[in-house]
Symmetry: C2
Subunit: 201 residues, 2 copies
């Protein structure tokens, strides 16, 4: 692999991919604990990386935010066996997210940014593609429950998948705003009455 | 009522409350059709109100956004008879919102802004208070369904209320991002199997 070298403000950045990965790691840590910075400069200060270095690796705040979330998801063990029900999958995710509210905030920021008329294409494409992938995965799990006979056969798997993804997102948002007023897992358990796991547990 | 007068940039603003209401009306119209502007100045340009006038009536973009949404909700007929089920209430709201995607975007912006570490207190308080009010209303409707015998007695009304509010918010967000991929009302109808209306229809 050819080394990338750039001269930005008098410093040269060698071993680009490795340094880029280090920056993403640091950003994931800081975002998880303290939330998302308002500008690329503020993020650089928070994660202890010069603004010049950050700009070398990421063209914009939008691109950095997408890459941080993408990297976080690829590291988190988001894959689960096909036997795990749609609701249980969201429940596991909610459990993991309790420890990293700043990354839930980052996710909410990305989805809201994607809605704006002037949204960066990288944000909009990432969020749209992610929702399609999540819904397809959840719909497959609903179909598995229908095959196993635990979920009513006349529920449309795609409608149910969008519902489960929405419930999970919306509940985590309410929980962030009012941790004592909302219990994500208990509310998801209500939904599990309609879309129960295939195996007990 | 005493008239407020201010001299900003050589123009005086009389009849403050009336002019303020006109500005909110115009902002609701423009936001509904075109979404939320990125800055107070951009919003002023979009709604055809000078930046100085906007700043006279609203201390910040945050305050304007909250007031626009508050005013929109007070004008929309959001009150419904107690017989309307929790899910049907969200369904009515989703139906209304189809025509005003920019105000759904404004709502998503307010909730995401409220999460940020540096959130304006006016935004955070508005969003938190609104969620509490919406959940309390929905929980009351779930209790009514339980009294009428249509909803299982062992479902916690508060857990169900948070679930219904979350599903509604999350589905509308997915619909904005992918209008052909998500049908809010069909997904809400899946949830209505668990939390059906008291009266048929």
């Amino acid at each position: 692999m050819a080394k990338r070298t750039a001269n930005t403000g008098g410093r040269s950045y060698r071993q680009g991919p490795q340094r880029r990965a280090e920056i993403l790691t640091r950003a994931i840590e800081v975002f998880a604990a303290r939330g998302v910075g308002a500008s690329l400069r503020a993020i650089g200060e928070a994660i202890g990386v010069s603004h010049a270095a950050l700009r070398y690796y990421f063209a914009s705040r939008d691109e950095l935010l997408v890459e941080v979330y993408r990297e976080h998801e690829s590291r988190a063990e988001c894959d689960a066996e096909p036997e795990v029900s749609a609701v249980d999958l969201m429940d596991r995710s909610a459990l993991r997210n309790r420890a990293i509210p700043g990354l839930v905030e980052l996710y909410a920021t990305l989805t809201t940014d994607a809605l704006q008329a002037g949204a960066h294409p990288v944000t909009r494409e990432f969020v749209q593609e992610r929702f399609r992938r999540v819904r397809a995965d959840l719909a497959e799990r609903v179909r598995a429950g229908q095959k196993a006979g635990t979920i009513a056969a006349d529920i449309d798997p795609d409608d149910a998948a969008a519902l489960v993804a929405a419930a999970s997102d919306g509940l985590q948002l309410q929980w962030l705003l009012d941790p004592d007023g909302v219990d994500v897992r208990r509310s998801l358990a209500v939904l599990a009455r309609l879309l129960p796991p295939t195996r007990g547990g």
